[in-house]
Symmetry: C2
Subunit: 234 residues, 2 copies
């Protein structure tokens, strides 16, 4: 974290290194940085989703998809995926979502409450960085449920939460890079991939050269890609 | 809970009974309902305050005072008490607050941040039921800190929380009667009193007869009393 760059050589403190298996191809290993690590860590470390829990995920970009597959790995029951982009909802289903909710059309909170017989979900995750979806995360919680806010919000953005809704022991918590201990968790996530438990292959929308990086950013901003991986020979 | 009344006899389910020591006088035992149980439970069960933690308590009524003495029992380091009523701050100091902050005069968040060298507190508690103080609870948290909202808010009241402030893994959680298991926790709190660890004596501002109950409510609303205990012969 905070040491990413395009240098061919770099001097870093030993604590900034995590030793991983040589068996994983580097274009796949490269994904286990922000997106995968944050998404899985939010589920395993920050929220500690347990088997049988119902989960809702707002935003199905790279982080949201990994929250979804993290919830699947944790043995969650229903996994609701919310997004406005139909392409992203398709990906969400491929990564383990049991229910997809088109966020623009219907009120996602209402859809989730109806689908759970008025109970709500045990865990919700915000993976966009918008106050509105953070508020929806809170409102679709069951009693005692926990909302985890992963998305980075603007400095002046305020999340308006009903005071009374907190009473039944609902929680809202922030999440910094999935609360990971990188040297412990990154090798573990690599192993998940090698064991066929983690889908990284479908996260790579395209492989590009460094020359194509601006087009890569454009495709990301247009919501057309999950990840564009820049490949080069060392 | 939800079975309080002035009946001389009552039929209740056995699960609604907690057996306590005969050694505690009943006027003291009567306090171990909402105020004491909620305040201590919020510290021990909901927030799980640990030794050495810095704590801030907003509102020093019956619940706030018991959050303060709960934090003292849990081995907290500094305990900041915030209230607008000087009489309540005096009580707060008697119940274990190390620092008192007059909430009206100074900005309590600023006072707490300055007193902790900009770090903030590990745990904060809202024991009034106001959005404004709930927001202050959140803003005076250190990285990774937890705000526990105990006070009952109006149905339409919204707590406006900075999205970015969540990032460093800060948490906000509701608290329902101190997350207590009453049959386990009430006898334990009675024992704390009998062992001289819990101050109940100073919570009783006056003992009144049932005839004086309206004056008792008036004194409570005027902020003159912690608790008026209605005594009568059985």
């Amino acid at each position: 974290m905070r040491i990413g760059g395009f240098a061919e050589q770099i001097l870093v403190h030993q604590n900034s290194l995590a030793k991983i298996s040589r068996d994983i191809p580097l274009d796949r290993a490269a994904l286990i940085c922000c997106g995968v690590t944050t998404g899985l860590g939010a589920v395993f470390n920050t929220a500690r989703v347990h088997p049988g829990a119902d989960v809702a995920v707002f935003g199905c970009g790279a982080i949201g998809l990994n929250v979804i597959q993290g919830a699947r790995l944790a043995g969650a029951n229903r996994i609701f995926a919310v997004d406005v982009n139909p392409g992203k909802l398709e990906m969400a289903a491929r990564f383990g979502a049991s229910d997809v909710v088109k966020g623009e059309k219907a009120d996602p909170v209402r859809a989730i409450m109806e689908a759970t017989a008025g109970r709500g979900v045990d865990f919700s995750f915000e993976a966009i960085g918008m106050a509105k979806t953070a508020e929806q995360c809170f409102m679709c919680l069951s009693k005692g449920g926990t909302a985890t806010l992963i998305g980075l919000m603007a400095a002046d953005e305020k999340v308006a939460l009903s005071g009374l809704h907190f009473l039944a022991e609902r929680k809202v918590q922030g999440c910094d890079m999935g609360s990971n201990r990188f040297r412990v968790d990154m090798p573990r996530y690599v192993q998940f991939y090698l064991d066929g438990r983690l889908n990284l292959d479908d996260m790579i929308s395209q492989r590009i050269a460094l020359d194509g990086i601006n087009e890569g950013f454009q495709a990301m901003k247009a919501g057309k890609t999950v990840r564009s991986v820049v490949t080069f020979d060392i």
